[in-house]
Amino acid sequence: MTQPSSRQEIYEGLTPIFHELFEDQGLVLRDDLTAKDVPLWDSLNHINLVIAVEQKFRVKFSTPEIARLGNLGQFVDLIAKKTAK
């Protein structure tokens, strides 16, 4: 998947990654989701998540960008910014 144009497309791309990494097929993604809401979302899996998203959307995140992320909505915004041309 390259250059998704909308937040909805980004959510569609993220869903299988979340389901697979956090072993929760029923997890519904939403803007205010944070690591606290997901049992398997620990620091190790957080890095896995960032790398998996990089591979899926063919983008790259910097260390400060990742450190600033507060919730999923902000992550989606960041992906949208990076994939927009």
Partner: protein, 643 residues
Amino acid sequence: MTAELYWLPKPDDFQGKLGAIKQSGADEPSRLDALRRLANHNLSLSETAALARALEGAARGPGDALAKAGFRGLRVAVLASSTVEHLLPGIRVAALRRGLLLDFYVGSYGQYRQELLNPASGFYAFKPDLVWLAVDADEALMAPSFSPEARDLEALAAEREAEWAVLWGLAGKSGALVLAQNFVVPPLRLFGHLDFSLPSALRHSLDRMNQALARSARERGILVLDLDALASRCGKSQWCRPGLWHHAKQSVSPAYAMLLGEEVARVLAAVRGLSKKCLVLDLDDTLWGGAVGDLGPGGIEIGQGSGTGEAFLSFQKYVKQLARRGIILAACSKNEEANAKAAFTQNPEMVLRLEDFSAFVANWKDKAESLVDIASGLRIGLDSLVFFDNDAMQRGLVRARLPEVAVPEVPEDPSDFSLCLSDAGYFEAASFTKDDLKRSAQYAANSERSRLQASSASLDDFLKSLNMRLSVSPFDSMGLPRIVQLINKSNQFNLTTRRYTEPQVRAMMEDEGVLTFQARLEDVYGDNGMISVIILKPASSGGKRGLRIDTWLMSCRVLERQVEEEMLNVIAARARARGAEVLIGEFIPTEKNGLVREHYRKLGFAKADAPVDGGAGSVWELALKDYAPRQTRIQSTWKGENS
């Protein structure tokens, strides 16, 4: 190279399939079989994580049922100088691809020396089969930063070699095989090109340490993961991202977890004798451009003069090198046989010759059927084959019908064929012995012998005409690598399929009470190399002094040549010289050794009542008092004690 395992097909509906497997309620072997099929795809990081989670604990399942279904457990300890937890799912999934179920022990981060030096550590309690010492470049030099004084690199190398000797020695004491890794030279430069030749520069220093490591490892029989080559292949700034090191002490990015897992599993599989043995090649548009049936042997694209012709030529050259290192070649083509062969005999540009192929199948049958013929003709398992065909439909057919056969995706451009096979790593070797070098000649000779057999009036005449000489001796250091290879590779003619690591075999070699035998066979067509290994251990039966046949294996290349009869003559004589009254044989059935089910009955052993510990095996006995040597057409010599 991308982080992907690009030679594997992409999965189709991964989540749906994984979910179905989890809910199917199938027994453990069937569940693992389905997971193994899923593992045979080019999976993403999150897919790999999900699959690995479904596998956790599988190694501790019911051993017998799993072994019957072709799965084996393996205990792997990882002692590392950086964090490695993120790499385990990739290794687990890649091991499953090879039927290996892993149990992991991960030492505390950076504590690898302590784990090895403390006999009460968790590492020793775990009793690993293999230990991976994942020690990074920082540990290679006492002062990794630049200092203007030239380092005394020779002294430093000697110091490191002494330390490795101690650490490897300790790791090996656990009975585990040791897997070291070389140092990844960081891409960061200080002077620039001068870093290469300046002894005080990091680049030059680490190159020197890597050389020392290669030498030490070769001398001590230690396996080394060539991480520096892998990181270069992937791009070092991506392989190790400084940000990930600073935040999480990861010296390999999770992006490469699948690739590194695949590489580690390859080495594990090679040690266990699970590497592929035979490359089966399609012909038209795989070894040359165009269809030889349409264009004629002179019209196909091969050789100098066109880019495409040169691309196929370079692929043929790579394949030829694989054959030279002992990989068996087979051709499998939908063609008239005469047309297919004419390409080899009449086109002078061809690098591969007909003689390079141990099997040549050109007909109009479907290729799954032809592959079965090829495997049975060569007396190897289907799981020893790699099928390389540019036609996607044929690949799909073979994958569906014969899941044991490895079928890589083939790149569009023939210029990329060689690197694809190289990246896919099907033929990973844990060692290379002189016998490997002769393998192609041996298979060629095998078909010669078959021809002679057909022309001989009787089997006895045929065996007589072979003029076979069997030379048997106890294990020695020279033969050790090949002995270990056979113990870990032989599946079919193997009575007990007991696998032993090199340290374990060496211990038996040095144990006075254990009788060991290695045998080589020569005949009119040449040297067959080492073809049989037997280990006898002290035991008793009904109050009689006896020797138990712990291991008896033989290469299938020398089946039906009376080798097993002559080997029995040799071991019976040795056992009697030791004062043994009875030989005790065991047969432990596996998926692959049905061939030797009646081995001991054929050799005149009587079936004993005692069953083998907890299994479906059988125990057999031969009284030595009345044993009369069996008549064979083999002349044997014993080179060892009391000779």
